[in-house]
């Protein structure tokens, strides 16, 4: 096994990153963390995470942007909000996970093995098209884009859903698709304007 150097130098971190996280909706209390670890202990998925939520909060606060954005942790969050309820310092951990996910997608640094960003994008595309989501189409699309083999293993579930009449193949749609598009496009142009500033 090759030796790996674990020391960090101050120029390995990005001080602006912590400021950015604290400035986002839900990130306000980032600096209140006392590293008690109750978020990690209550998290049903921390057992799979490369950094426990507590460690991720600390990394974010100290500006270790690369480590934070490329971590599995943010993609394993299932939005169960247990950490937010238990946190003694009222840190909105779930919302911090969300804003880190958005940043990772934006910067394209997420780990390839997690199809969540693909799902999220497909989800938003479908909403832009129809205003509603057809779960079957969404899941099919996801597996076709990521993992053929997994799709095959899921056919049992698909057959079960057909048997119980829970599978729809036609996309459901809202009536005033134009209205919704106008709203979403207004935000996009607003965001572009802001970025230009």
């Amino acid at each position: 096994m090759p030796l790996e150097q674990k020391i960090k130098y101050e120029n390995d971190c990005d001080k602006e990153f912590a400021k950015w996280v604290s400035s986002q909706t839900g990130g306000e209390n980032l600096r209140h963390c006392i590293q008690c670890g109750v978020c990690s202990a209550t998290c049903p998925l921390s057992l799979y995470m490369d950094y426990t939520p507590r460690r991720l909060i600390n990394l974010a606060r100290e500006g270790f942007k690369k480590e934070v954005l490329s971590s599995f942790t943010i993609w394993l969050c299932a939005s169960c909000y247990a950490c937010r309820v238990e946190c003694p310092k009222e840190i909105q951990v779930t919302d911090i996970m969300y804003l880190l996910k958005r940043k990772a997608i934006e910067e394209g640094v997420f780990p390839r093995r997690f199809p969540i960003p693909v799902l999220a994008r497909e989800f938003s595309r479908m909403i832009f098209m129809f205003g509603r989501v057809n779960e079957t189409l969404l899941v099919t699309d996801l597996f076709l884009r990521t993992n053929w083999f997994k799709f095959l293993s899921m056919t049992g579930l698909g057959l079960n859903l057909i048997r119980t009449g829970r599978l729809s193949v036609l996309p459901d749609s809202i009536k005033r698709r134009g209205e919704l598009r106008k709203v979403l496009e207004a935000i996009e142009s607003d965001e572009k304007k802001e970025a230009a500033k």
Binding site: G37, V38, T52
Partner: protein
């Protein structure tokens, strides 16, 4: 400094001084600019700014100027009058000026500390200064009244703080009344087995002091009693105390406890509050063998005689001193005291408010106070560490910070839990041989020999896992976990989550204000912080004083603290009370109201308004009369008087209106 000839010859000559307060004021407000501005105001003869006005050279400067420049009025712009009004009044007196020809302007708390815009803050300071300079012209020479101080003292609360304060005062020769709500004195300390970090037996050091209270000729001990009403003012308080019925005549009972054996209930079967519900008692009971006073009492909720009037009263029959009195009623007592020491203690956090820890749901979960009784040789199990179901625990977890450092319950650190958790870890291990796990967030051991005590526990092989426990449950993932309590915690030093099965879980509950702290503070007219503990006059320099003169606080009613600090504070409170009493008199602020007799129409509208009952009605002349000793200067009567015949010193109409005109004039 700027010196002027007053522009209008008829105006009194004002000296104006502005303090930098280091950078506290000068960091935001420009003192030189305010000084120059004030120098240009009518009547100002001297205007200066200085780094620390409250310092000796600052005060000396004022006194010197008064003499040299024949100043007739004084205005100081600095901090809160609460801090230094008295300082500058003394400086005025030193220079030969009546101290009430002085007005203080608070430009620190009211301007520099609360604003960031430097220019606007400086402008605000000018406005406030102008108001004061305009007002001070109308000030009149006043004298403080001297009132004698009653040498007797009331101590409220009979825990270790109240006991220590009462003994200190009594040893100094003062007559003390100690009022305690429970049937015995001793407070929380009487529940403890050992005390950290020395591990000396709590009872061995406490009970001699309890007996000393009972035996002291200068102490009147009223247990099972509560203060109902407080009237008066510093040096002269009138206090009403309610003595609740014990249904046993205290002077007759000698505490032989034969009545308890004779009770018609053969077995104790009622909730034993003293033992935290872990033991049982009868309707006639005594909290513990060393209870002080050693007098039994009868619980009206469970006694058959008191509930139905139909009992054989075997208890009373067996009492050869005829001490039982089932007809006893609550009694009201009135006492006069000069000073009051409040030592009303704390309430342990209710562990049920943190449902994730399963208290009340899983029988293996205990509070720290329950464990104190369990490891106590005179407790319900005679010191044997045994679970509610009779098993002996092999693994015990201790959860720190339950109801502390948590925005959902109490934000503060309760300060004693780390140390008492270490003590309980030691005692549990010693009594049962169990493996003990401490779950802590940060280990706080900042006291004499405290870190050394932590070292001792580390060397004893107690486990220390740094992490706040998320939950305790009975959901097993492995065969080893079956039938046990599973603690889920991140071992933050290891960096992963652990599931640790235990048989007994101890919740180290934090310290909270007493449930009725708000009522009590209103009764004694003192303040509370946002968290509900009693507010000291100054966090560093007046830690046992309150904003009400003559009322002192000691112990955990002010903030969570351990026994050594509580005793030190109780001694300090007693010393403050002694300083007040031994001075023999107090000077009262002259900001009192008085009636201009010829203008009073005798409408009596002021009478019911006075919160201090200072106004009486002179029936012959049909005029209201204000007792200036009782008047606290609240101004309600002056504001309400329809004929304007009530005036208040320092708040005369001229003074108030000129101040308003001053602040508004540009």
């Amino acid at each position: 400094m700027t010196e002027n000839k007053p522009k209008q010859e008829n105006l009194p000559r004002v000296g104006f001084y502005i303090c930098h307060c280091g950078t506290n004021i000068a960091g935001v407000i420009d003192p030189a600019e305010v000084q120059k501005y004030a120098a240009g105001l009518p009547g100002v003869a001297v205007s200066r700014d200085y780094k620390y006005m409250c310092s000796d050279p600052g005060q000396e400067m004022i006194a010197e100027d008064i003499r040299k420049h024949k100043l007739e009025r004084l205005v100081v712009a600095a901090c809160s009058p609460l801090l230094h009004e008295e300082t500058f009044r003394k400086a005025a007196a030193k220079g030969g000026l009546n101290p009430f020809y002085f007005q203080m302007v608070n430009i620190r708390e009211h301007a520099s500390w609360v604003h960031t815009d430097k220019k606007a803050a400086t402008e605000k300071a000018k406005d406030l200064v102008r108001a004061a300079i305009t007002r001070v012209r109308y000030h009149q020479a006043l004298d403080k009244k001297r009132v004698p101080v009653d040498p007797n003292v009331l101590v409220v609360g009979g825990g270790i703080a109240g006991i220590h304060a009462a003994l200190t005062l009594a040893n100094a020769g003062k007559k003390v009344t100690l009022v305690e709500r429970e049937a015995t004195i001793g407070g929380h300390m009487a529940l403890f087995d050992k005390t950290f970090p020395t591990l000396d037996c709590a009872a061995c050091i406490l009970t001699p002091k309890m007996s000393a209270v009972k035996a002291h000729p200068n102490i009147t001990l009223w247990t099972y009693s509560e203060v109902e009403k407080v009237e008066g003012y510093v040096g002269n308080y009138k206090v009403m105390v309610k003595r609740k019925p014990r249904y046993v005549i205290e002077d007759l009972c000698v505490g032989c406890m034969e009545c308890i054996d004779a009770c018609v209930f053969k077995e104790p079967k009622f909730h034993d509050k003293f033992n935290q519900g872990l033991g049982k008692r009868k309707p006639v009971y005594i909290d513990f063998p060393q209870a002080t006073p050693k007098v039994v009492l009868v619980d009206p909720e469970t006694c058959i005689q008191l509930k139905t009037g139909k009992c054989k009263k075997t208890c009373a029959d067996v009492c050869d001193r005829k001490a039982f009195d089932f007809e006893q009623k609550a009694e009201m007592k009135e006492i006069q005291v000069g000073a009051i020491v409040l030592a009303t203690g704390f309430k342990a956090h209710d562990a049920k408010r943190d449902p994730q820890y399963g208290y009340g749901k899983y029988p293996g979960v205990y509070t720290a106070l329950e464990i104190e009784r369990l490891v106590n040789a005179s407790g319900p199990t005679s010191g044997e560490v045994v679970l509610r179901d009779g098993r002996h625990p092999k693994e015990v977890g201790i959860v720190h910070c339950v109801g502390s450092r948590d925005a959902k319950t109490n934000k503060w650190c309760s300060r004693v839990c780390c140390m008492y958790s270490l003590k309980l870890a030691h005692l549990i291990k010693e009594h049962s041989g169990a493996e003990v796990y401490n779950f802590y967030i940060d280990m706080r051991a900042p006291g004499k020999a405290y870190e050394e005590f932590y070292d001792k526990l580390l060397s004893e092989g107690v486990h220390f896992i740094r992490g706040r426990v998320a939950e305790v449950n009975d959901w097993a993932m492995t065969p080893e976990e079956e039938g046990r309590l599973i603690v889920r915690v991140e071992d933050t030093l290891a960096g992963f989550v652990r599931r640790i099965p235990v048989d007994m879980l101890v919740l180290s509950t934090g310290l909270e204000p007493q449930a009725d702290a708000q009522e009590v503070r209103r009764r004694f007219n003192i303040g509370c912080g946002t968290e509900g503990f009693f507010q000291e006059r100054h966090p560093k320099l007046a830690p046992v004083n309150t904003f009400t003169d003559g009322i002192y606080i000691a112990g955990a009613c002010q903030a969570p603290r351990d026994i050594p600090d509580t005793v030190a504070q109780a001694g300090a409170a007693a010393a403050e009370a002694l300083a007040l009493i031994d001075a023999g008199f107090v000077e009262l602020e002259p900001n009192t109201s008085h009636v201009i007799e010829e203008e009073c129409c005798g409408c009596k509208s002021c009478l019911p308004l006075c919160p201090y009952s200072a106004i009486t009605f002179e029936e012959v002349k049909k005029k209201a009369v204000i007792n200036e000793v009782l008047c606290k200067g609240c101004g309600v009567c002056a504001a309400a008087c329809p004929s304007g015949s009530i005036r208040q010193n320092l708040f005369e109409d001229d003074e108030i209106f000129s101040e308003i005109q001053g602040v508004l004039a540009k």
